[in-house]
Symmetry: C2
Subunit: 141 residues, 2 copies
Amino acid sequence: MTDQPPLADAFSRWGSAGLDAGTCPIRNVLDRLGDKWTMLILVALAAGPCRFGALGRSLPDISKRMLTQTLRDLERDGLATRQVFPTRPPRVEYRLSPLGRSVLQPLSALVDWAECHDQAIRQARARFDAVPSQKTASQAE
Amino acid sequence: MTDQPPLADAFSRWGSAGLDAGTCPIRNVLDRLGDKWTMLILVALAAGPCRFGALGRSLPDISKRMLTQTLRDLERDGLATRQVFPTRPPRVEYRLSPLGRSVLQPLSALVDWAECHDQAIRQARARFDAVPSQKTASQAE
DNA sequence: CGGAATCCACCATGATACTG
DNA sequence: CAGTATCATGGTGGATTCCG
C-alpha cells in the first residue's frame, strides 16, 4: 500500500510508547517548531547572520521577551549560535548552525505543502462553518 | 548560494507581511500541527479508518475532550472525514481525506529529520545546561 | 543595544460528570 | 459508544520596567 508512509513506522515506535516530549523525538522537534515564533526566526536567520535588534524589526511585532527566549531555546538546542562583540554599544549576532540549516529543508517541504493547499483548507473550513450545527471552538465567531 | 532554500522565498511573502494565522498559510498549518495531539491522530489515522474509542485507546492518554476537539478541527479543515453508523450502540469512524493523506509526506520528512538529529539536539541541550549561567525557562529544573 | 526581571491576562488542556 | 457541559489550572506570551 503506497497509502502507508514510513511515518506510521516512526510513530509506531514513539506514538504508542511514551510520546511525551521527554522521550519522543517527534514531539521534541514539533513542540519547538510549533510555538509562535521559532520558525519565523529560523527563516529570518536563513537569510544570513542577523543582530538582535534587526531580527526584532524584521519580525512583525515580537516582543523582546519572546525574541530573547526563543533565540535562547534555539541556541540551547544547537540550532543557532550567538556571537557577542564587546563593543560599545554591545553588538550580538545570531546565525544558524549547520544543524539549524539542515532543518530548513524538511521545514521547506511543509511550507510548500501549506502554501499549496492553503486554499483547499480555507474552503473546507468555510464549508464546515456554514453548517450551524457544527461548532469547533476554534471558530472566529 | 545553496545555503538559501526556497523557504526564505515563501517567508518573504508571509513573514514580513502579516504572519498571523489568519493570513499566513504557514502559520495556518503549523499552528494546527504544532498542537499537542493533531499529528498523533494524523498518524494513527494513516494506518487506516478508525473508530473514536479505538483512536482514544491507541493514543497514550488523551482525554475524550481533546480527542473530540482535535478530530473536529481536522474534519473542519478537510483533513479527515467522519462517518456515523446509526447502529445501537452508535459507531463513528474517522478516516483521512485525500488532503489529509497528502500532508503525511511532508510531515514524514520532518519526522525523519527529528529522529535523525534527536541525539544531536539532546547533546547540545545537555552541553548548554551544563553552564549554570545559561538559563532558558524551558529547562526541566 | 541587548537583555533580565516582574506582573498579568488569556487560552489550551485536563478532570469530572452527565447524556442519547 | 460517542460524545457534551462545566469547572479548574498551568503554561505561553504580552507589557512594562530596570540594568550593564
